[in-house]
């Protein structure tokens, strides 16, 4: 009985990475998971190419030098694994610990807390392992081969040599340990907060912790200094910093397991073992306590704290319908953790690009108008608009959308205007205002205002482009995974980045030349008017009714009968 319960719960927890209520009638969870795996494998290919490009040129070196040459490569693999596992932990934040729904559904059933607990642990461990495996699928094989000493017996011998096998084991143990460390840290912090705070207070704090964890993982990945040389690792001034950077601990652990330990990496290796032990113990304790102490509290206490009146006040945004949709969008986005995290992911990508640009040039060139800063502001605008548009497509409390279906409004144009306004309030205005503050404080006012006008026009163009054919009210239409081609979006973004650099260079020159600037404004105004006209024309079409399901139920509904649905003949 318990084994069967375990299997059923394990499967249920494992496949509930995304709330199934989000999905459209035709929604297929496998597509979403497939897309997620495709992104990981794409990163894996990039990592493998990086390994080959760095180590191929060093293949003639003595092995001791080759191993040191491989430090940055192994470090980047560990860092990427920690980032991805960290983001995975942030995304699955709510599903790690028992939720109110879990308890309400399962409490009346004869299931032991132990079975419930073990199924959740097993599901989390499986998801974590699959994530790490997908990410390291290629570099996990390429790196050990590249690190093996040259062998005249051919590739197969090389792959099967003891040195390669040891490197292979060392790499996989290291990345799994690094992933487990990050995941356990998240669990430990979450569990500790759950134990120390009343449940309702914990839920509020938990939302901030989640965002803090997201920012921490991303900042660490982007801002971590490179210290992957023996000299930098041994430097006394770096020792305090090294003690705080777990990615270097696990670089040391790899060397320890690989039998290639350098004295400079011995202290970090020991920290990795100690840190992993502490994280696992803390997570196990917190997890056990939360299951056996807080299950009852979950049922007895409501999930949300009453809000203060002042905190809920929002201004009017035009006509009543527009005000209703914009206020609804703001409140939903601010109160839905899932949507906030997805939006934060997009903002994180934007900040990553800005930080990379900052690392290269613009800090030195800040007082003058420069391409890096122009590109940064446009990139932030694009990711903010795109991210907000994506979260608008994801529903919240889908079955409650009947109130919009019942609204006595003709649809199309009115709701398009309201949705556009929501996009401006939630994405364009914050980025534009932040850019205005920055540029007006560091650039001559003429250049700053010139760029802010261009940025405003680009915002209008990009917002209308994103809303072409969008016939939904934010958060009210079901979601059909597999339509976004996220893995292709990465390449599209690379192309966009190149185009932006060219465009920004043109704008920089135009800001110094009034005639060119007027021409630029004219082109942008024409583009803005054209796209606005197109969006309105699409919304005004008689067939463009408001959409509440990404793909409507088919006229003929298949019953999906399989073998067990075949009628017996006799």
């Amino acid at each position: 009985m318990a084994k069967l319960q375990f299997r059923v719960l394990y499967r249920e927890f494992l496949f509930r990475m995304v709330d199934l209520e989000l999905l459209s009638v035709q929604g297929d969870m496998n597509k979403l998971l497939g897309q997620f795996a495709a992104v990981l494998v794409l990163v894996s290919i990039g990592q493998a190419l990086h390994v080959v490009s760095v180590l191929d040129s060093a293949s003639h070196m003595p092995r001791a030098e080759l191993l040191i040459r491989a430090w940055p490569v192994e470090h980047s693999l560990v860092t990427m694994t920690m980032l991805v596992v960290g983001l995975f932990a942030v995304l699955s934040w709510d599903s790690i610990f028992p939720s109110r729904r879990d308890v309400l559904v399962l409490a009346p059933l004869p299931i032991r807390a132990r079975t419930f607990f073990l199924a959740k642990v097993a599901a989390s461990a499986t998801a974590l392992s699959v994530t790490v495996a997908a990410l390291n699928a290629l570099p996990g094989f390429v790196l050990p081969v590249a690190l093996a000493p040259p062998d005249n017996g051919g590739l197969l011998n090389l792959i099967l040599s003891l040195v390669s096998l040891r490197s292979f084991a060392a790499h996989w143990i290291t990345v799994l340990a690094a992933g487990a460390f990050v995941f356990c840290c998240v669990l430990g912090v979450q569990g500790l907060a759950a134990q120390l705070l009343p449940r309702r207070r914990f839920l509020r704090v938990s939302a901030f912790l989640q965002m803090a964890a997201f920012s921490l993982f991303l900042s660490l990945y982007l801002l971590e200094p490179s210290m992957t040389t023996p000299k930098a690792l041994a430097a006394p001034e770096n020792q305090r910093l090294l003690a705080c950077l777990p990615s270097y601990w696990f670089l040391g652990l790899f060397q320890l397991l690989n039998g290639s330990m350098h004295p400079a990496l011995a202290p970090p290796a020991h920290r990795a073992l100690g840190g992993l032990a502490v994280a696992v113990f803390a997570a196990a304790t917190a997890f056990l306590l939360s299951y056996f102490r807080t299950l009852r509290r979950i049922v007895e206490e409501p999930d949300i704290l009453p809000g203060a009146r002042r905190a809920s006040w929002l201004p009017r945004f035009g006509r009543p319908l527009e005000t209703a949709v914009v206020q609804f969008s703001i409140r939903m986005l601010l109160r839905s953790r899932q949507h906030r995290v997805i939006l934060a992911f997009y903002w994180g990508i934007g900040f990553a690009i800005v930080i990379l640009l900052a690392k290269t040039r613009f800090a030195q060139q800040a007082p003058q108008v420069n391409v890096s800063m122009l590109v940064s502001s446009i990139v932030m605008l694009c990711v903010a608009v795109l991210g907000t548009r994506v979260v608008f497509s994801m529903p919240l409390e889908l079955r409650a959308n009947w109130i919009f279906r019942m609204a006595p409004v003709r649809g199309g144009p009115e709701f398009l205007a309201a949705t556009r306004r929501s996009l401006f309030v939630l994405a364009v205005i914050p980025v534009w205002a932040a850019s205005a503050t920055l540029f007006l404080s560091v650039w001559p006012w003429r250049s700053a205002i010139g760029h802010l006008i261009v940025l405003g026009l680009l915002a209008i163009i990009f917002a209308d482009l994103c809303l072409l054919g969008f016939r939904k009210i934010p958060f009210t239409c079901s979601y059909l995974p597999g339509k976004s081609y996220a893995h292709m979006a990465i390449w599209a973004f690379v192309v966009l980045q190149i185009l932006l650099s060219i465009g920004a260079e043109y704008e920089r020159r135009a800001l110094e030349n009034p005639a060119a600037y007027v021409a630029l404004l004219f082109i942008l105004c024409a583009a803005a008017c054209g796209i606005r006209w197109r969006a309105s024309a699409l919304a005004n079409k008689p067939e463009s009714e408001l959409q509440f399901d990404e793909e409507p139920a088919p006229a003929l509904q298949g019953l999906g009968l399989r073998r067990d649905g075949i009628l017996p003949l006799s």
Partner: protein, 245 residues
Amino acid sequence: MLELRGVSKRFLGIAAVDNVSFSARPGEVTGYLGPNGSTGLIEATSGQVFFEGAPIQRDLIAYKQRLGYVPEEPHLYAHLTGLEYLVMVGQLRGVSRAAAAKRIDGLLRLFALHGDRHVPISSYSKGMRQKVLLSAALLHNPDLILLDEPFSGLDVGSALILRSLIQELAARRKVVLFSSHELETVERVCSRVVILHRGKIVADDSIERLRALMALPTLEEIFSQLAVEQDTAAISREIADLIQS
């Protein structure tokens, strides 16, 4: 007046309602015992629904403007507070700001929700959610009120208020269509009743006339005779026997 003429609705070929015609008049509460949803909320497979003599599909927006609807399931945006939800509904329905503020405040007080108006709906009990639905349905002073199991989850006091309210609304010349499985409540609240069986109307008259015609004392017995085919006592005995076996 709300009038259904030959309305059919089929799901995967199975008729939920089949060629149904009846009318609900202002000033009376019409009880409806059968599958619902065919009065403009979902499109009928065939037939037409008329409100005040005009087909509702001709101007569905105008129809919705005059309709107040309480659905069976209390699906609400639980991340919003009760007050925020009602303000949003007022804006969607185009109720003027002053009128909406006055009515929302009054409805929240009268339904005893005022103290919890800043609390998210996710923390509300089923009865409180039902009161929010009722407030949202009445906020724009509708001429046609569709109530689908409106007593669900209400405490005794609120249920008594709602019962009087339904009759009061009818007395003010509103068209009230009331669907419920609680036959005693239907009997107390409604002046007329429409009973459907296998998608077809089997009775459409005042409750007094049905009682007299069928020589049965209660609506429950009338309904059992017209629309219940099974021997309920025998089935219940069988269930009790089965779980003991």
